[in-house]
Amino acid sequence: MSEEKGVIYRISGPVVTAIGISPRMYEVVRVGDEGLMGEVIELHGEQSVIQVYEETSGVRPGEPVIRTGQTLSVQLGPGLLTKIYDGIQRPLPELEKTMGVFITRGVDADGLDLEKNWQFNPTVKAGDSVSPGDVIGTVQETTTIEHRVMIPPGISGKIKEIKSGEFNVTQTVCILDDGNEVQMMQKWPVRTPRPFTKKHAPEVPLQTGQRILDFLFPLAKGGTAGIPGPFGSGKTVTQQQLAKWSDADIVVYIGCGERGNEMTEVLDEFPHLIDPKTGEALMNRTTMIANTSNMPVAAREASVYTGITIAEYFRDMGYDVALMADSTSRWAEAMREISSRLEEMPGEEGYPAYLSSRLAEFYERAGRVETLSGGDGSVSVIGAVSPPGGDISEPVSQGTLRIVKVFWGLDAGLARQRHFPAINWLNSYSLYPPSLDQWYRDNIKTDFPEVRTQISSLLQVEAELQEIVQLVGSDALPVDQQLTLEVARMIREFFLQQNAFHDVDTYSDLKLQYTMAKAILSFQEESKKALAGGSALEDVVNIPARTDLMRGRFESGYEDRIEEMLDAMSKQIADTMEDN
């Protein structure tokens, strides 16, 4: 079949209709004299409808369309990390070499460097039986990440020969008894989830170093989170913080229909940022997909699939992978644009009727799994959502919230007051705490869950009191409620606010978070006693030790000095009683 050739009948933006071929659904075809890459997305009588991954202006009816026999796939193997790709896994540095600084079209590029030699160290020997997912050898891909070369799905048997030494990704490193040959590179169709044995319940938190996230609304390894928010509220900064500081082994960052400069920023910054866990550059564990807002929409549609397939591949090696997609709304809009060109019957707000099932299928590819080889790996997915006008009653936000287990709701009002991260603590939620609490008790402190509950109920009480304050002013409240307001303000300003751009404040580990939360609670406890003992509220809240405690978080070595500060605080609070 392979060289079957047809012609273009119609061109409407990124959608091209061909006649004279009968390809399979999702087959990759070459479109026009320039051989632009496209994918069959609908078969309609005589006609094959194709979404084209490159600009189509200048293309004419009558130009050829050629089948490739392949479905849209990614190349998987050593060399994925530290790379930046477009939505269809073309390495951007390669495109720069052939096209210059502007992305033109008609250029192919392999996702992996096919020439580069890697040191392959076998972990099996001749005579061993292997089946899909089994690791047959390792490659030190970056200084921190060991790439585990696996038997691809669909192949199994006894090993006849296994090699060792320097090979490129297309050379055979293993031969089975039945003659099947295995290379370091495998291909996988992006729209098909990679197989695993079974899904486990997530019970380990993904630690992000972001206090409001870890402490109040935690995400589990293998879990799903949505971050909706209006423009400028902090979706990208939050996602970048997660890419930087979360304790995943591998990070896949998808810039889907967003700004070019934001990707450049990651490229500039990550090689210089040090992973607190390994002491190595963060770039060594990262793969980026950049299909910015002005790049072709069809490739934007594909970009999330390219990203999640790469994530699943590392999961299959037994790694914990975190994937960020910024923004899933732009992905949904790409679907909407293609769908409208197909003249499909629109659903809500013009989005295709299958929007919510596509969203569900995507997030369903997250999870903590037992891999085919019996290992344990996970993919956590964090999707930004950009609701028009910041109003989350729209289809993409709603479709996302129905699926994800964590909702970090960004708030324009907070962003305007420069309260960052501008996550609204009253309407955000996480459904994971019940399954994670045992972990916190075992690994951080036995009363961790109780401390969390106390902190969040203080914030609830504050919200109720604020309503009264708006009417009568705070002086009209009884003194214990005024203290509650002060304590809640401390939670907001000292604990929830966290400056992503501050060298020290940008990251707090869980132990420190716990200590800070406890510090606030003990301030409350002791102040209550002091007030009961006759102290003036004004004196209690103005003790210098409280300011020191709050400002201290910006200085390094804070965790070592905090005990000392707490002692000073207790003493000063007690002193307010004696003054009276």
């Binding site: 004419r60 920023e265 002005n294 007051q417």
Partner: protein, 461 residues
Amino acid sequence: MTGKEYRTITDVKGPLVFLNKTEPVAFGEIVELRLSDGTLKNGQVLDTSDDQVIVQVFEGTASIDKQTGIKFLGDVFKLPVSKDMIGRILDGAGRPRDGGPSIVADEMADIIGAAINPYSRQSPSSFIQTGISAIDACTSLVRGQKLPIFSASGLPHNDIALQIARQAKLVDSDDDFVVVFCAMGITAEEYNFFVHDLERTGALENACLFVNLADDPAVERLITPRLALTAAEYLAFEHDYHVLVIYTDMTNYCESLRQIGAAREEVPGRRGYPGYMYTDLAMLYERAGLVKGKKGSITQFPILTMPGDDITHPIPDLSGYITEGQIVISRELHQKGIYPPINVLPSLSRLMNAGIGDGKTREDHKSVSDQLYAAYAQGRELRGLVAIVGEDALNERDLQLLKFADIFENQFLRQSRDEDRPIGEGTLDYAWELLSNIDTKYLVRLDQKWIDKYHPNEKKN
């Protein structure tokens, strides 16, 4: 392939012309239409197949009939570009409007503009001093940024844009800016205002204007900004210029986009605007920035008027999702007689952090800016409370903050149209002076080391 004229129009709808089978016509190809009275119009192919071709006519479809002849010119829309464009005034389709000769092409450039490879970009980080305190201190502009002005009808956004164009300079070099100005559907009066000002200051010689006015064809507005940006890219990346692109009014551009969508009977997105408006706007706004290995740069100042002063309207909303911040003009401040009436609270410069600080503006800049924001935001909020419970219910700290909000608006924001405040001794020192109206113990966002160095009353020299 060119030359042949067709008379196969079947339908005319709004700005669109539908015609029957022709030779294979390219998607995006440029079309010439000859009316029976000899008038020529131009258009572009929006959809093409063996059976039917859909053409969008830039000058509108008035007087087109089934006898109208159609010629396909064999190529997509290209603009002749050359350095000689500097100092010229062109119309919305790129033809001379100043009576001068046609531009002799150094190169024919595709106006759609290819995307800059994100890998090839260079992060913008050079501070541009505008001399306007509100912008320089709170929403600092950086070379290569796209920073729109969100305004509304009747507000002085044009004055602000012109003041920026006049005063913008880099503190770390003496490279000049070339201005590319793009008018989309603005009134002749507004246009004259721009031209006179540019003439008055001699900036016109260093500018290139693309002009589509309110009574020029609406559909043409869809190409005008693309021409302007094509010229800007050529000047920036072929000739090392630092280009400042001002385009106004994006709202008119979006209306034209909506018109085309409606004529094609597309399923509309929010409030009748096409679902692809985000992508379409991104194809303009993303043509800003710096690229590795090139000296020039493109900085964009799109101006848009928010329908009904509503920042959640799709035009400002989608713009805000693409641009690197926004400068929001406030009717309330304008009514108080404050110029420039910039509300810094919803305003934002996302690239500010990269462009300020030691060696760029001044070491205390970030700290001062955070403190100004915090104090002004709290002061404004207190105004609301005072309206209900009166000033008596306020404590000392709140009273000072309340007063500071007025000081900030009346002294810091307010400046004259030709007042050019340098960042250090002008804007930042002034900020310190005004902040000294608040007790230092309440200025918690200021680092102690900057207080010791810059606070007028606490300086330790």
